[in-house]
């Protein structure tokens, strides 16, 4: 009996390991897409708002939608399976919590973009808020869609009928996500207070941090009464002076030497 059980158990664990790995990959990609969607959404209404941005938003949204549907099916079917061993269930529940939180973030962002689309139309550029942005979100969208480079040639045709159709599809998608969230809560009972996270409390600082950008940002960090800008430029000027003095010294040494 135990032998037979072990065999079955091994097969099961192999199967569920793959299931877990698959699920984790899907959820990770959804989190990435949601993060990119948020970046793109923060550009709406600003001076870089354009039809291209809206198109990128749409594409990102569609990708997120596809991912969430597949994750929903995957996780629901496995969590409703009563024969799932305990550790696998815990992992699944963690993925479930991550998935539902991402869905909530996506839902909020979609609602915000929908409402802002009402107020700001990309056609009327004079009314856009001058937020100080210069570049678009093409690189972010490329990251979201996992494409090496977005095809810049495809500029969408600004047809009015298309805009209203776009809004209708957006409304439908928002309600679809609503229903998905509701369904999830109905079908699977995950006790959130029982879920324990694995990860660290603090996110690890990434090794490949751009020191130049850090310097730029620390410039903005203000201590009252301090003038970091002036200090920076002062150091630059001092360095320049030092280099000039050094050059003058070497030249004079050469002159003395050769004369």
């Amino acid at each position: 009996m135990p032998l037979v059980n072990n065999k079955v158990g091994d097969d099961c664990t192999v199967g569920t390991d793959k299931v877990l790995v698959d699920g984790k990959a899907l959820v990770d990609s959804l989190i990435k897409v949601v993060a990119c969607y948020r970046h793109l959404a923060s550009c709406v209404g600003g001076c870089t708002d354009s039809l291209q941005l809206r198109d990128e938003l749409r594409q990102t949204r569609e990708k997120a939608q596809k991912l969430s549907v597949s994750i929903c099916q995957h996780l629901t079917s496995h969590l409703r399976d009563k024969s799932l061993p305990e550790e696998q269930r815990k992992e699944m529940e963690l993925l479930w919590v991550a998935f539902s939180s991402s869905l909530e973030l996506l839902h909020i962002d979609m609602c915000k973009v929908f409402n802002m689309g009402d107020i700001f139309s990309p056609a009327n550029t004079a009314a856009l808020v001058q937020t100080g942005l210069q570049g678009g979100g093409s690189e972010v969208a490329a990251r979201a869609l996992s494409l090496p480079d977005l095809n810049e040639a495809q500029t969408p045709t600004p047809a009015d009928g298309l805009e209203s159709q776009e809004r209708n599809t957006m409304e439908k998608e928002i309600s679809q996500i609503d229903h998905m969230i509701d369904d999830m809560e109905m079908k699977v009972n995950v006790l959130r207070w029982m879920v324990e996270p694995h990860g660290p409390q603090y996110a690890d600082p990434l090794s490949s941090t751009d020191s130049a950008s850090l310097a730029l940002l620390s410039v903005d960090e203000e201590q009252p009464g301090h003038q970091p800008l002036c200090q920076r430029s002062r150091i630059f000027v001092l360095l320049l002076l030092f280099a000039v003095v050094l050059l003058a010294a070497t030249l004079s040494v050469c002159v003395v030497f050769f004369s």
Binding site: R38, V44, V97, I108, N115, E196, L206
Partner: protein, 473 residues
């Protein structure tokens, strides 16, 4: 866990703020117009220049400070103080994604992600209040923490895809958003008093102090155990069950059902002979006795026999004052004082020294409720003393013996129809009130006899003869 952005209870409270925000948004959109709007200049940082920075001008400072406090504009230097300074410091418009509109509640999850991102960028060195918030959120949203850390990392990586100036701008925008919505405790009052004085709308501190006052007052309120209060309710229902014409049989017959008004005529306020049910109700409580005019008459008769009618007269005078017209209040208060409270008054009532002091000092500036304390004292006196004696008195026993118990009507269908046809309106309330006033005048005319008056009469009559107390029945 709220899934949708439903603001069912909060909508009511935030509505005034919503109107202000809508106006602010409109003005902000107008400010963007390149011709008529605010002039902007590029901000010079070390490596790049970032366009669209504006400076504060004198006349627009107040309005600008309001916009900053709300979160529509953020300062580029000194980002923690949300005011417009009258120097050349620069400000920038906030992107609409971060505008403070009420439909989008500020989520703790977002704040946790922001703090995690900040932690990554600053390599673990967060400010004190940020650290505290981070730890608190870690405790409360522990189950989501993996997600939060992952989302923060992904957002950080996505931000790196953008150009450097855009990255800086986005970070400034996010930081400004969180300074408005999660201000550090030190500057909390500063920003909120600014918001209060500049926007004149209900802010969070205003409603919070209201809530605090309300909860403190409700703690101080006297509380009754629900078992006790439910017991009292049950007792009340049991006592009054048989007296309710709708819950039990009504003798002779319920006028609403049979259209026969005998019940009402038998229970008129000033009827000579009351019904048995009515008399029984007087035994339930002193309040019942006093509120029924016939019962009050009976009680008055009893007190007359006891020569202590001044208490009831005083109580009635106080009621008159409370419910009377404002024009007559001063006169009534004076009359009552002269008749009952003054030293050597003809119908002096016996209240304790403190209440007398309070009442007399209150009478200098009389208002409707100036005699409340004295009235309550006299009421309790009557309730504890006279009421008990009344219940045992021959007056009451006599009334109870004489009380009638009408026979139940048994109408046939044709009689019911006849009754319905003969329906007549009752006496007009104006006539009733006139009758009431006539009766009151009659009562006032017939000299009320109290012990003080009797004593004074006797003392006047027989100065030589030693006064002896009149025989009490």
């Amino acid at each position: 866990m709220t899934i949708r952005n439903t603001l069912r209870d909060h909508g009511q409270r935030y509505r005034p703020r919503m109107a202000c925000l809508k106006k602010a948004e409109k003005v902000l959109l107008e400010m963007q117009d390149p011709k008529t709007g605010v002039k902007s200049q590029p901000q010079r940082l070390v490596i790049t220049t970032i366009p669209h920075a504006i400076t504060g001008k004198e006349e627009a400072r107040n309005f600008g400070s309001m916009l900053v406090a709300l979160g529509y504009i953020y300062p580029l230097q000194d980002h923690k103080r949300l005011v417009i300074k009258p120097d050349a410091s620069l400000y920038r418009f906030q992107t609409p994604y971060f505008w403070p509109t009420q439909q989008w509640p500020v989520e703790d999850t977002d704040y946790a992600i922001y703090l995690a991102k900040r932690n990554i960028r600053k390599k673990g060195i967060l400010e004190l209040h940020e650290q505290e918030q981070y730890n608190r959120l870690h405790k409360w949203m522990n189950h989501k923490w993996d997600f939060i850390v992952m989302q923060a990392k992904e957002q950080y990586r996505a931000a790196k895809e953008r150009k450097k100036p855009d990255r800086v701008v986005f970070d400034c925008q996010e930081r400004a958003y969180w300074v408005v919505h999660r201000p550090p405790v030190r500057t909390h009052t500063h920003t909120h008093t600014h918001t209060h004085t500049h926007t004149h709308t209900h802010t969070h501190t205003h409603t919070h102090t209201q809530i605090m006052i309300f909860t403190q007052q409700s703690i101080m309120r006297p509380r009754v155990k629900s078992s006790v209060s439910i017991g009292a309710l049950v007792k009340y229902c049991a006592t009054y069950n048989s007296h309710d014409p709708f819950l039990s049989k009504c003798l002779p017959s319920n006028p609403w059902l049979t259209d026969d008004v005998t019940y009402w005529t038998l229970n008129m306020p000033n009827v000579e002979i009351p019904t048995k049910m009515r008399v029984e109700r007087w035994t339930f409580s002193f309040g019942e006795l006093l509120s029924d005019p016939r019962g009050r008459d009976d009680f008055r008769l009893f007190l007359k026999k006891e020569f202590s009618g001044e208490n009831l007269a005083f109580w009635e005078g106080c009621e008159d004052l409370k419910w009377g017209t404002a024009a007559t209040m001063r006169e009534k208060a004076e009359q009552i004082y002269k008749a009952f409270l003054a030293r050597g008054a003809p119908r002096w009532i016996n209240i304790d020294g403190k209440t007398m002091e309070v009442t007399v000092s209150g009478l200098k500036h009389p208002h409707r409720y100036v005699l409340d304390a004295a009235q309550t004292h006299i009421y309790m006196l009557m309730k504890k003393d006279s009421y008990g004696r009344y219940m045992k008195s021959p007056v009451f026993k006599d009334t109870m013996k004489k009380a009638i118990c009408p026979e139940e009507h048994k109408f046939s269908d044709s009689q019911l129809e006849q009754n319905a046809k003969n329906r007549r309106p009752s006496l007009s309330p104006i006539i009733l009130r006139q009758q009431e006033q006539e009766q009151r005048a009659k009562m006032a005319a017939s000299a009320p006899v109290d012990i003080t008056q009797v004593m004074s009469k006797l003392s006047k009559q027989g100065k030589e003869v030693p006064p002896r107390p009149p025989p009490k029945k």
